[in-house]
């Protein structure tokens, strides 16, 4: 609670002091992908491993695909991932590929409004042009659902959307490079999945009082989430100390079973159920290999 109060106060101060110094229009850059052809099957796979389906579908309630997600409770309030079906009014049916790319890469809506970082665009900004074109092609196959998503429930000051432009200016580092190894495809594939598509750091990297990712402590775990839970470190050292092997990690991503016989719960249970269980064995192996060898 104290942390929340401090965060609220800091954000309020930032909002007031920053109002005159920051231009409160979203960071809209030029993106031109209209000519990029997409692969539906590849995009569908990417939608699964990137968490689009998990977050934007009420899976447990038997909701329609991508018609809006279940509540996401955070220290800043409750978010509801919106309808991403092809419905022109309630979904993204009236968007262009460039609108879609701008949302993923820059965290900005077609109307120029910044998105809350509950939408992990910090990670999606590293997706390639082809990734985005493929995702877009797959999204075009989703049946329209004329159902409005629920509104976010956020208290002051988090409900002041203009503050997000400031937040993005402070904490959003678009398209920061993924550290790759020139001669190790498995490592690079794992890096791409962990650091971009599957956005593992969204939960496993600690955040500051305003929800900005602490990149200096990437994948080192997060504590004291709203419901009292915590997220373990998945840095190479932490995983090795805990006795994880590459084989066990890949198996856990497939089944949810840990080496000691326990089964994942919480958000990780959902990640496996709705995401990593659908990955190819090669992708799960690549994640495990990358995490255990990450530099």
């Amino acid at each position: 609670m104290k942390r929340l109060l401090i965060g609220s106060t800091l954000l309020g101060v930032l909002l007031i002091s920053g109002w005159s110094t920051f231009q409160l229009s979203a960071n809209v850059g030029t993106i031109k992908l209209e000519s990029q052809a997409g692969d539906v099957a590849r995009g569908a796979y990417l939608a699964r491993v990137s968490g689009c389906i998990a977050c934007h579908t009420r899976i447990e309630e038997g909701g329609r695909p991508l018609a809006g997600g279940p509540p996401l409770t955070t220290p800043f309030g409750t978010f509801h991932a919106p309808n991403l079906t092809t419905d022109k009014a309630q979904g993204i049916g009236s968007w262009s590929l460039d609108d879609f790319a701008r949302a993923l890469r820059q965290g900005v809506s077609p109307q120029g409004q910044p998105y809350y970082p509950a939408f992990p665009y910090s990670f999606y900004s590293k997706l390639s042009d082809q990734d985005i074109a493929d995702l877009w092609a797959a999204f075009q196959t989703v049946p329209a659902v004329t159902e409005a998503g629920a509104e976010h429930q956020l208290g002051f000051p988090y409900n002041v959307r203009e503050g997000l432009t400031l937040w993005q200016g402070l904490f959003f580092k678009p398209q920061s490079a993924i550290a790759l190894r020139s001669d190790d495809e498995r490592y690079n594939r794992g890096a791409y999945l962990v650091e971009s598509a599957s956005h593992c750091g969204a939960c496993h990297t600690p955040r500051n009082l305003l929800g900005g990712l602490d990149d200096d402590r990437a994948l080192q775990g997060a504590e004291n989430l709203l419901d009292g839970s915590s997220v373990p470190a998945i840095s190479a050292g932490a995983l090795q100390d805990a006795g994880w092997t590459s084989s066990d990690l890949a198996y856990a991503l497939k089944t949810g079973l840990k080496p000691d016989g326990d089964v994942f719960g919480g958000a990780m249970g959902e990640v496996v159920r709705d995401g990593t269980a659908f990955m190819t064995p090669q992708d799960r192996d690549a994640i495990a290999y990358f995490l255990l060898n990450r530099e």
């Binding site: 569908a44 796979y45 447990e60 797959a138 997220v231 089944t255 949810g256 016989g261 959902e270």
Partner: protein, 209 residues
Amino acid sequence: MKTNTVLAVALSVLVTVAAPLAVAHGGASGVVKERMDLMDSMKDAMKSLKAIFKGDVAYDPEAVRQAALVIRDSAGEKMTSLFPQGSLHKPSEAKSEIWQEWDRFDLLAKRLQVISQGLHDAADNQSAVGQGHMGEGSMMGTDSMMGSSSMMGGQMMGNSAAGSESMMGGMSEMMDSPEHYAQMPADRVFKMLTDNCSSCHTRYRLEDK
């Protein structure tokens, strides 16, 4: 002096007797300790099943049956009776949602019992194990879910056998049929058992490091 000696002896007896109890599960006591012990016994059983179905050890139907019985005998009413209303004191990892959604929790506990009985009965159905345990290339593989270009349409969620499988909707229809599980490949039943554990942990367990 005599009083001090008596107190010292009493204290040492207390420490000797109580310490092991207090240490177990970080100081759990009463019903919380009982259910944490119960979960531990199931965890041990799952560990041995995992070794078998992951392929780390040779397939052993009798070991599968024994582990399945441990889970069966810990599930259902045996489990739910250890969750009296409001028993949330530390170090319990239970969430209050258990009592807010008691029927759902109870259903998952009962289903665990039915599936574990099914796994016991299916233990000799080894044929699929060596062909990609846990359903690789079948229900969980890439072909059925991701390979289809119509995946993003109705098919996407409809055959979501890997996930919640319209988790609560389909549950009641399936749980009354241990004989149904007994006809299935053992690795497939083990996957359903694991998914059931995950459904419960995902919704009702507080995650800690």
